[in-house]
Structures are given as C-alpha cells and as structure tokens.
Symmetry: C2
DNA sequence: TTGAAAGCGTTACCAT
DNA sequence: ATGGTAACGCTTTCAA
C-alpha cells in the first residue's frame, strides 16, 4: 500500500468527539469557555486521531504564519553559521520556524527570496545581505531587522567594527610592529569598511609606517594571491591587519610557507574569530565579534517587533574584543 | 502612516481587469483557455496592483506547499554548510524553498521540527540527522531522503565511508607509517563507524602496529583532550587516522605544540575535507567527501520523488578521494 | 472562452 | 458552554 495517509482535520476530531469544530478550535487555542468533560473528550479524540492542526490553514486565516525569513549571503562562509544558530535558537524557543535562503550577494536572487518569503506570509525577516531590497523601494510590509550588514536600516544589529579596527591597530603597535600592512576588504561591505577606517584612524596618529592592499573580494583565493604580493612588495612588513580571519588565515599560511617566523618576525591580527581561527597554527589572534549573540539579539528584536512590544533600541551595537592568541607577541605588562 | 499595506488579492486583480477570479487564476497558472485580449488586461492589472499570488492559500487548496524541510544536526559543524548549499541550490532552481532546522542530535527537537515541517505541508524532507523519527514509526507521509547519516532509510545519499577508511589506511602505510593510532568516533554515527571499519580492515591485514582511541563525541574540545592522551600513551605513534578533519585539526595542533615534526615524525590523515583543512599549516591531507554534490544529489532524488518520476537508484553512494596535502609524506612513484 | 461556486482547514463572530 | 457559519485567498470543476 503506497498511499499517502491523509492527515486528520479539525472536522474529524469534532465528529470523533461528538462536538462542533468551533469547540475543538477553542480547546486547541485555549480560549473561550469549554466544559471540563468536553475538554477531555476532545483531547482524547485528538490523541486518538493523532491530530495536529494545519498551520497552512491557520496562516491563511490569520494572514500570517509562524515563519520567519532568514536571508544570508552564503552559509558556506564560516562567519554565518553561528549567526544563523543565534537566530534560530531564539526563534525556535518561541515556536517560530526559519525559511532560509542564500543570496550570494546577487540582488535578483535576494529579491526572489524576499518575494517568496512574503508570499509565504512570513511574520518577519532577518537579513544579513548587503544589497537588501528590504530597505529601498516599497515600504516595509513586515517587520525586518538587518544583521551585520546594516547599511542604515530601521532596525539593525551589528558589531562595533570601527572600534574593532582601532583595537587591532593598537594591539599591533603596542606589541612592537612598526611597519604595518592592511588588507582592506571591499568598500561596499559596511562592517568591513568600518574596521578598516578604525585601524587607519589609529595608525595615522601613531608613529608607524603602513601600507594598504585593496582586495576586491574576501575569498580565500584572492587572499592567497594578495598575501604573495604583500610579502614581495612590502618585505619589511612586521605586522598585518587582515580584514577578516579568512584572509588572515591565507596570509598566515603564506608567511609560514616562505619561512617567516610568526609572531617574531611578523604579527598578524584577524577579524571575526571564526571557529577555525583557534585551530590554525599558530592560533590566530583576532578581533572577536559576538556572532551568536548578534543573531540572538536580532531574533529578540524581531520578536518584539512582531509582538508590537515597545523597542527601546532600534539599532543595537555589540562590542568586540581582542582575542590574544599566538600570532601576536606577548606584551609585558608591569604592575 | 504606519499602516501595513494590504497585499492585493486575486479578487482585486479580477475586478481591476473586469473579469472573474477564475480567469485570473487561469492566466496565473497558464492553463485553460483565455482570450488574448483578456490575457493582456489581466496581466496589466497584475502589474498595476503589483500582485503576486498568496502561496499559503495555494498550499491550502493543493494540500501541499513549495517548501522542503531540511533537518541538520548542527549547521555550525563545518561539514554541513556545503551540504545545505548543495540542497538549496538544486531546490531553489525548481522554485522550492527551504524550511530549516538544527536538531543538535536531540530527538525531541528533531521531532518538533519534523512535526512543524509537516504542519506546514512541506512537499518533502531531507534529513542528515541520526535518530530520525523519519524512518521509524509512522509510514512516511511525504517523500523523504536521508543524507549522510543514512541508517537504512528508503532513499539515501551518502559517501563511501568504508572505502574512505581503507584508502586512508593504505595511504598512511604506503607512506611509511608503522605505528598507527586511530581516533575512533562515536559508534552510533554510521558514516563515522564505516570509515573506522574500513581502516581497521586494511590495518589488520597489514604488517603494522595500531591502537584505537575511542571518542565519545566529535567535538574539538574532546579531540584536544584525546590528542594529549594520544601522544603520552602512544609516544611511538608515527601515523594518525582521525575520524574527521575537526579532530585531525586538534591532533595536528597538539602535535605541533609539543614539537613533533609533521609529516616527518608523524603523518596525519583526516576525513571530510572541510574548507578549513587546506588552511591549516601544514595543510591537512584528508579523505574528501563530495559534500556539495551529496546535497545536490539528495535534492535531485527528492525532486524525483516529489514529481513521482521513476527513480532508478534509491540509495546513492558517492565516491571519496584522497586529497594529498602536507601532513603526509610524498611517496616515490616509479614509472 | 468565461464565470459561479464549492472547497482546502482554520478561526472568530454571533447566536443560542 | 456550545454550535453554525462566514471568511481567509486560491484552484478547479461544471455550466453557460
């Protein structure tokens, strides 16, 4: 028998229990009066038929589902899985589910996902994409929070990249680098731009040389290429600020390959603190973003918007921290 | 004006175009006769109102959505993002969207996700979880394919772990290791068990010593711990077979920390070829699973099931390959 | 070629 | 405390 078993409906439950669908609906939703005995009958019927309510019908009637759309550039980029978990864990607790899509920074794909999210009556959206048709054009039809790549949305959650850049630069300097090279990421990715600006701010005011290598992307492949250029163009470099851990890893790899001693000859600081960073050898010193927490906060903010609760902070900035590992030298602290 | 703009419905389009909803529906779905002029009128109305059909209402009527449920143990585990992309990319092309959940190997959570997937009328499911209530108990209500952790489902896609284990063992031996330690993963994860069995098969028939260290989990934390034990209990080890790249990375890190020369003193082979592996230093030699391809094939298989097309292979096994990097010695090949 | 109406599984209003 | 029923937005007979 290959038949797909038909799901029991509220009507089946009603007739099984010998009551009306309205009554079943009431017990399902725990609202309205229902006699104790009736309650029991209904519950039994539900159990007997292994009934569970059809969310689609509910969504149709209520004109909103229990679904949230999550839009990411690419889950394959190690920065995003934790973000996604932060979002999911928080939402899941409240009974919401995730409709999920990767846009690959492709505006058409992004728009296609947004459209289908909307068509599926999601109650809200969280987006970590750059281009985000979410904020341009049509007025927000549903609550939306922008995550990480925030470019001036109404509701945003992001880490303090500017300060991160400053911290990184300071750490490098205080640990003795005088000749610093910055790997600068694409200017259109706002958090990446911020960390660069922060670093330059400090570097410009300090008594050190520095150079900038501009990258067109944040792919590992490009980073490998740039790392080679770096060591040939600026052989005197004794400190490197990478725009993220991925590129830091590529630089570290190349440095080791050509026999540089890390951190003695060259110090390296990354950005993000992706899970891999501690597994590199030497383990990568980096600026940590509280990624999971960011996802979580975005979800909490969205939840408030959905429930129309008062939100005190529309733009939530989370602090970053320096994670000292082994691509930077120890600093002597007196005290 | 803070109003949430109400979406146009098929009725709005109908009255705008001066036709009936039935006609609009026909043009929407491109089925049934509709006069050229009527067609144009309707299309204009659609454009004018910026109408797009409500998927929820469609799903309700058809009793199935355009949604597919994807169940993963943990997207945060670097093995899974590529799997997910393989699945998504394939499904996305055909207009299906992903409802996504992480089970954390927790049967209750898993069941909860499955339930809501079903309540949302997904057309199919893909699951990479171990416990999968998907195959036990109730008859499959909807098409389901098991991915990676396949434990005898009806429709499965997985890599040849057994052969992978054999290959790894052979490579280690042919490159001169005589004293091999195996890091064995939890026995209840089938693909992990397979690769162990494959390795033992070869090792047992070869003229080498070998030891097994049993791990209770595949977390990096435990791997770090076990790595320490490994080098203190079996200091003579000159070859290590890890149950996945994550634990290989931990072992590599520890080996380097205590001053072992890799690969001269100790060779290491991982399993999976997660993106990080090539970034380690030395880059990790490993057994590669075609993860993206696995996801893709699972999606294709599911698509066939959904469309009730003939499926020739219910269980798709994909080959693994040895990726030679720098944690193994070069082997001299004469020819 | 087009339209009226039933029905998908719920919820919520209004009676009773 | 309970039931009848309209409505949510769509698709699909069936008639015209």
């Amino acid at each position: 028998m290959e038949r797909t078993k038909k799901m029991a409906t509220i009507r089946d439950v009603a007739s099984e229990a010998g009551v009306s669908v309205a009554t079943v609906s009431r017990v399902l939703n725990g609202k309205g009066y229902v006699h104790e005995d009736t309650l029991k009958k209904v519950q039994q019927a539900i159990k007997k038929l292994n009934y569970s309510p059809n969310e689609v019908a509910r969504s149709l009637f209520k004109r909103k589902s229990k679904l949230v759309g999550l839009l990411l550039p690419d889950i394959t980029n190690p920065f995003f899985p934790e973000l996604a978990r932060g979002v999911e864990d928080e939402l899941q607790k409240q009974g919401f589910r995730l409709l999920f899509g990767n846009s690959d920074e492709n505006p058409e794909k992004e728009q296609a996902y947004i459209d289908t999210f909307l068509q599926n009556q999601v109650v809200g959206m969280i987006s970590a994409t750059q281009t985000s048709g979410l904020h341009k054009g049509e007025p927000h039809v549903i609550p939306t929070v922008l995550l990480d790549r925030t470019h001036g949305g109404n509701y945003t959650v992001y880490a303090d990249g500017r300060e991160g850049g400053r911290i990184a630069a300071r750490e490098l300097i205080s640990r003795g680098s005088h000749n610093i090279t910055l790997l600068k990421g694409p200017g259109n990715i706002s958090p990446v731009q911020d960390r660069f600006l922060g670093a330059v701010e400090v570097l410009a005011g300090a008594n050190v040389d520095f150079h900038v290598i501009q990258m067109a992307s944040l792919t590992y492949e490009e980073a490998e290429q740039r790392a080679k250029e770096l060591f040939s163009h600026y052989p005197g470099t004794d400190g490197i600020l990478a725009s993220n851990d991925m590129t830091a890893a590529a630089v570290l790899h190349e440095a080791l390959r050509i026999g540089k001693s890390i951190p003695d000859e060259v110090q390296i600081i990354g950005f993000d603190d992706i899970p891999m960073s501690r597994l590199l050898f030497p383990a990568l010193s980096t600026i940590r973003q509280p990624v999971y927490e960011m996802g979580k906060q975005a979800a909490q903010l969205l939840l408030k918007l959905i429930k129309k609760e008062q939100v005190t902070e529309q733009n939530i900035q989370l602090p970053v921290t320096f994670v000292e590992r082994n691509t930077t030298r120890k600093v002597k602290r007196d005290g």
